[in-house]
């Protein structure tokens, strides 16, 4: 009965991992394409609120970002009150006019009316600060604003 002789050595053959690099490359390309390098280093907590009636901001280069929130853990020396951040540093409400002017100067003239100001504000900031920002924006006639939010229900997750 040598035909049905047991094969010698019952070990499991090694799994072929030749396709592994392909899979990893696929993932790699996805993340490379999806990645947007952050323009600004945030020095504040920026936990955006949720809303579901949102519209998309279409033209990325026509958006000016104003951040506001509590200074994050590394910048505790600046206090615990919500602060404004423009570009890479903390700013005062008075600096907004100059910031808008600088942003406008860096864009082509015909695009200036289409500039939108995106307010990225921490959900725990109070409205006094936002009111001041809005007042400043009105002074420099930057009237198109966008409250950047995450997509989700306003009632749920806090």
């Amino acid at each position: 009965m040598s035909k049905f002789k047991k094969k010698k050595g019952g070990e499991i053959p090694a799994v072929n991992t030749a396709a592994l690099p392909d899979i990893v490359f696929m993932l790699l390309f996805f993340f490379m394409v999806a990645t947007v390098m952050r323009q600004n280093t945030l020095m504040i907590e920026n936990n955006l609120p949720f809303a579901d009636q949102v519209e998309k901001l279409d033209k990325k280069d026509l958006v000016m970002y104003i951040y506001a929130g509590k200074p994050s853990a590394n910048y505790k020396q600046y206090g615990t009150e919500a602060k404004i951040q423009l570009n890479d540093k903390f700013a005062d409400v008075r600096d907004i006019a100059a910031f808008i002017a600088a942003e406008r100067a860096s864009k082509r003239e015909e695009l200036i009316p289409f500039l939108t100001t995106a307010l990225k504000v921490d959900s725990d900031a109070n409205m006094g600060l936002i009111g001041d920002i809005k007042q400043e924006l009105r002074k420099v006639n930057a009237l198109k604003i966008n409250y950047t939010t995450k997509k989700g229900s306003v009632f749920g997750r806090n």
Partner: protein, 195 residues
């Protein structure tokens, strides 16, 4: 001379390199949020003439420092705000609005064109609550526009706008634009903020 076969390059560590890059991109990726509620601020110059608006055409929403809502002088939960706003906007008290489905209560707003929502907040109101209130009020307008679009053209207002912005949409865009404008005129978004 005998031709020697080129030795095969060992590609075994390719996966390691790819993994390294992958992990780098995984860590640095922040999926940017680029959506939000669009608003337009009022210009700063004050208009000379005072516009007289009847009290019944104003829907006042007050948010205090403790994030409580006072709507038309009554305390209200956030979840009821949308419904109350829809009822106010869709009231059609003076009968000129033939598409309104509201109660036609003479003590509430005359028609959607005259109805104004006035939002006032304290300095201590949290941003989260403010956004939630804004969201609910915008939702009320969107709901009315959606149902109007549904009854006129058989698709929702959001869908029409999506179609308008879609480059590949095959239909007639100028006609669609007119339809969108029509609905915007019928339910104009009149949301004023008190400073």
């Amino acid at each position: 001379m005998a031709k020697r076969a080129a030795p095969e390059v060992n590609a075994g560590s390719m996966a390691d390199i790819a993994f390294l890059l992958l992990i780098f991109f995984l860590v640095t990726t922040t999926i940017e949020t680029d959506s939000g509620i669009n608003r337009k601020l009022p210009p700063i110059e004050e208009s000379e003439e005072d516009v007289i608006i009847k009290q019944k055409n104003i829907f006042t929403v007050l948010v205090n420092g403790k994030d409580q809502l006072l709507v038309e002088d009554e305390l209200m939960e956030l979840k009821n705000l949308r419904k109350a706003a829809v009822e106010f906007l869709d009231n059609g008290g003076d009968g000129t609005c033939d598409y309104c489905k509201g109660k036609k209560d003479p003590s509430s707003s005359d028609n959607p064109d005259k109805a104004i929502i006035s939002l006032k907040n304290d300095r201590e109101t949290t941003y989260k609550t403010y956004i939630a209130v804004q969201n609910e009020l915008v939702a009320a307008y969107n709901q009315l526009r959606d149902s109007r679009a549904q009854s006129l053209y058989g698709k929702s207002f959001a869908e029409m706008e999506a179609n308008y912005n879609d480059v590949n949409w095959p239909g007639n865009k100028t006609k669609l634009k007119e339809q969108i404008e029509q609905i915007k005129i019928e339910y104009p978004q009149k949301l004023s903020e008190v400073q």
